[in-house]
Subunit: 339 residues, 4 copies
Amino acid sequence: MINNRLNIGIIGAGRIGKVHAETIAFRVPEANAAAITDLNQDAAEQVAARCGIPVVAASVDQILDDPDIDAVLICSSTDTHADLTIRAARARKHIFCEKPIDHSLAKIDAALAAVAEAGVKLQIGFNRRFDPNFARVRAAVQSGEIGSPRLLHIISRDPAPPPVSYVKVSGGMFLDMTIHDFDMARFLIGDEVEEVYTAAGVMVDPAIGEAGDLDTALITLKFRNGVIGSIDNCRQAAYGYDQRAEILGSAGSVSTANCYPNEATISTGESVRRDLPLNFFMDRYTESFTREVRAFVQAVAEDKPTPVTGIDGRIPVVMGLAARKSFDERRPVRLEEIG
Amino acid sequence: MINNRLNIGIIGAGRIGKVHAETIAFRVPEANAAAITDLNQDAAEQVAARCGIPVVAASVDQILDDPDIDAVLICSSTDTHADLTIRAARARKHIFCEKPIDHSLAKIDAALAAVAEAGVKLQIGFNRRFDPNFARVRAAVQSGEIGSPRLLHIISRDPAPPPVSYVKVSGGMFLDMTIHDFDMARFLIGDEVEEVYTAAGVMVDPAIGEAGDLDTALITLKFRNGVIGSIDNCRQAAYGYDQRAEILGSAGSVSTANCYPNEATISTGESVRRDLPLNFFMDRYTESFTREVRAFVQAVAEDKPTPVTGIDGRIPVVMGLAARKSFDERRPVRLEEIG
Amino acid sequence: MINNRLNIGIIGAGRIGKVHAETIAFRVPEANAAAITDLNQDAAEQVAARCGIPVVAASVDQILDDPDIDAVLICSSTDTHADLTIRAARARKHIFCEKPIDHSLAKIDAALAAVAEAGVKLQIGFNRRFDPNFARVRAAVQSGEIGSPRLLHIISRDPAPPPVSYVKVSGGMFLDMTIHDFDMARFLIGDEVEEVYTAAGVMVDPAIGEAGDLDTALITLKFRNGVIGSIDNCRQAAYGYDQRAEILGSAGSVSTANCYPNEATISTGESVRRDLPLNFFMDRYTESFTREVRAFVQAVAEDKPTPVTGIDGRIPVVMGLAARKSFDERRPVRLEEIG
Amino acid sequence: MINNRLNIGIIGAGRIGKVHAETIAFRVPEANAAAITDLNQDAAEQVAARCGIPVVAASVDQILDDPDIDAVLICSSTDTHADLTIRAARARKHIFCEKPIDHSLAKIDAALAAVAEAGVKLQIGFNRRFDPNFARVRAAVQSGEIGSPRLLHIISRDPAPPPVSYVKVSGGMFLDMTIHDFDMARFLIGDEVEEVYTAAGVMVDPAIGEAGDLDTALITLKFRNGVIGSIDNCRQAAYGYDQRAEILGSAGSVSTANCYPNEATISTGESVRRDLPLNFFMDRYTESFTREVRAFVQAVAEDKPTPVTGIDGRIPVVMGLAARKSFDERRPVRLEEIG
């Protein structure tokens, strides 16, 4: 820490790395973007110029070896997350790691073990917890405003499917897309899922099926505390990005609607209408990206637990594996079957 | 038919019998409420006085033997529906029968056989199909407005559970409450369900569990055409009667919200709020009761098929039995397992 | 009163006469539609047949002379209202008279004097007070829910202008259309207007201007208690019938939205939309027509004041005359200038 | 311009000065906050530290004399705006000046003359034009989506009145608060107002009246093109900051609703409710502050007219003076009476 500001090294200057770099540079005065690195040197340099980051590191090691750097943000491709987490932990850097840690539980467990051994902090990038809408749903549960939860529904649909080339390396819809919703389900209810049952299909694009993946799913969740939930996923919603949740409790319900670019309503001889909801996850979740990084910085600065821990990064992967097993075997699957 | 009006005999002067009597008397000029009967003679007389029905019959036979009566509305208790349907069919009366026909498939099949043999018309009282909101959802599917359906959600929650004494004779939540939603699912998608999976519990009142029933459920539906759906049921919603549906299609989505006693919004220093949704099914579905009876009268008058046929009465019972079996055996159950 | 039911004679079998006849026949058990008359005998006979009215009277006198008739509904053309009110009062019949009583204050005063002298009850057909939405707005004021009112806005727009032939005999927009809103303003605030200021123009159809009338107006109201209000009128709204009100009070606000044929929302790649609001005043205000007639029947039966009295019929005419004078003289006009 | 970035000097480090400083530092890469000054040196230093502004100038002259500075933002108190505008113009700096330029038309005219003579650019801080909601309303008019405008309503209510000490130096509600709405009316309709009529009162706090001001008003606007509009102002709305607009056109209408901190709805046994709208103008209009400064920077960089010119700063002051005159003289007042 220099001048009481947390010095952060950013690993990865892609889409999400750029977002986090801007957040640290412009919106988190308690932190300082000290260095950035990317296999694509140009990308790193552009972000550095844009955000006033003084050092474009030639390698991850240059960042990990710098004693002035307190923490790293791991924003590189998923297959590097576990290894970089281990290296950063060993270098005694606090770690903010994008989700998922890995698709392999063994690698996740190795990473979490390294973090535990080093005693550094780890936060996983489940940004949606920090979205004001979902945070309000959670608050309604925690405050008792709606009583004891009974039924949960999460709807999470993308505007359009990713390229099939991406689908093939994505780990499958459950680990790539639903993983956010698995985390959300745990976060909103504040309890663990014991069993999942998956109904799913290929309805958007046969090429996704040919790649061995699914594009539409409805996953039933049974929580330890008896709550029953569902996650509705589709890789394509014609009207845009659809991100909602609803909980019925003993004393009432809470639901959250989509976000729109404006609050205008147009009435003509045809219909009463509004513009489409925000279409791009960067626009929809802008505020959450800022808030999650600020929360990480505060957790490190105040030496408190991070709000999204390593185990929070592991369990959704278990859920994703269970969801796929349920689909493959056409039966409900208990999480303990996965490990 | 006298003066071109369909003469109708009403069997049962309870809550729903009274509603149908008023509908025929005041809102369906093409029909005439010619007679009414009930084991409770007082109840029949009160409805007759209120609605100007000239004959309070001493028995069902008096109605079935009356050659001037063209059709009957069977509004008596569920355990009498199948038998009365058979007797009315043999008396060559057209039949409007409240749901469910029976809880036993054997009895349902006997009733449907009698109807088929007599060549009379039969309509089952799944009134919600005639609700303007659900009708609009169906229209959005049929018109192609939202493309090919992919995912369906039905939320159907009562304001408060019935007395446990009723629960014990109700046939269970799936045959008593969900049966409407099973019908709605088939109606909205326009296709048959092949498999169901039930997650359910007792969350509202332990006495319901002690009576062998459930009060909260989430049922996954797989349709023959690949659509995946869910039915969310709870015997109690603190804010009132919650009756919604939502369908995602390839070209968009349609959803319908609850109905309210007024369109007023109050904003104070505390919140921006509106009054609770309509709480009583009679208020919520007023228009649908009128429309279903009018549709029955028209089908008879114009010698066309009724919009909700005998098989439409049978299938939801199969679905209810499958849903319970799925819960009991903790596995997805195909409808063909039931029969 | 026969069998404790109020016997009512209906004068006028046009659009609104037909609505009231159906209401009495089918929805107000405490009343009996005993006779109907119309210059157009066919029209009267059709309504009588539809509603089971036993007598189609050859003249108004036949109704007024019938000692068994307790009350009349005056649903004939506006130019006959005052004279019929006087004749009915002299015949000692209670009177429900459609709005406006007349366009001339002298004739209104003569009618009110006859009513007072006869000691019969008079209710004016300002049905909108009985609409559940506007009634809820009024309730929010009366209950203190929003504190002391400060600002009122009424928006009242027709789907399409009437034929110019009608415009010419309508008494002008302020007496024909705004009169409902003048009544609503007094009803919602529960106080009298002292001054009006009119900004208006011809924006919909030049032919309306050539006929000496206006089609678009914004009228500022100053109430005795200090509240400031506005009435927004237009003879044409492309999206349908627009009927809203909003009040700001010291402790909050209340507003009411339009009514729709269903609660469905459609989301496509173009927009998030719903169907147009109810377009026809008969559909929009269905419930209010029933409630106002029921309130009249109850007021007579229980010998209580009617909820919309003769003076409630007079004041909006004064307001309409003041509004026109304000437009003509381009200045605020106090109601006391009119008389 | 250094490195192609516009060098900006900020005059005033109060609430709005701080907002603009952050915008330039963090959100407008094409500009550089080069210097800041304030009578309160501490305030200037704090903002400089927060935003990385290299120079805290001891005086305005230090900024105006700096040849590297291209433009100034005038964020000091209103009584200094005209004089600073003149001085900055003479120093050949482009000017972004907070609203209002002055309460005196003579001083405004002197300032605009200096700007014209110097040939520098001037933008007035009517930020609401850049709000996505109001921008969407304007777009609906400009695109022809709602046809030709007929009626306009602006509702603009503060959460709570300012201190009476401020009221006394504010220039009165019409120049302090309504001035934004006068600008909005011109912006939304794209035409000039010819006449205003004011109904107003003191309803919130008698002390405001004792200070010679008003706290609640309804102002009727007549536009040159025939459109009729209203502005509803109140210094206090119990539920928070209320900022809406609605336009009826020949082909439809557009309206915009308030902004909320989240999209969650809570339903309990009491009501269906959401949290209060955003309460603070800084939160409500966050995005507009960024967009207006970016627009200014672009206008200078590309040598184009600013989107809110000097005359746009003058006319709302004329409207405010006319509105007050209308109230005082209890009659409609034409703007040409003011000058």
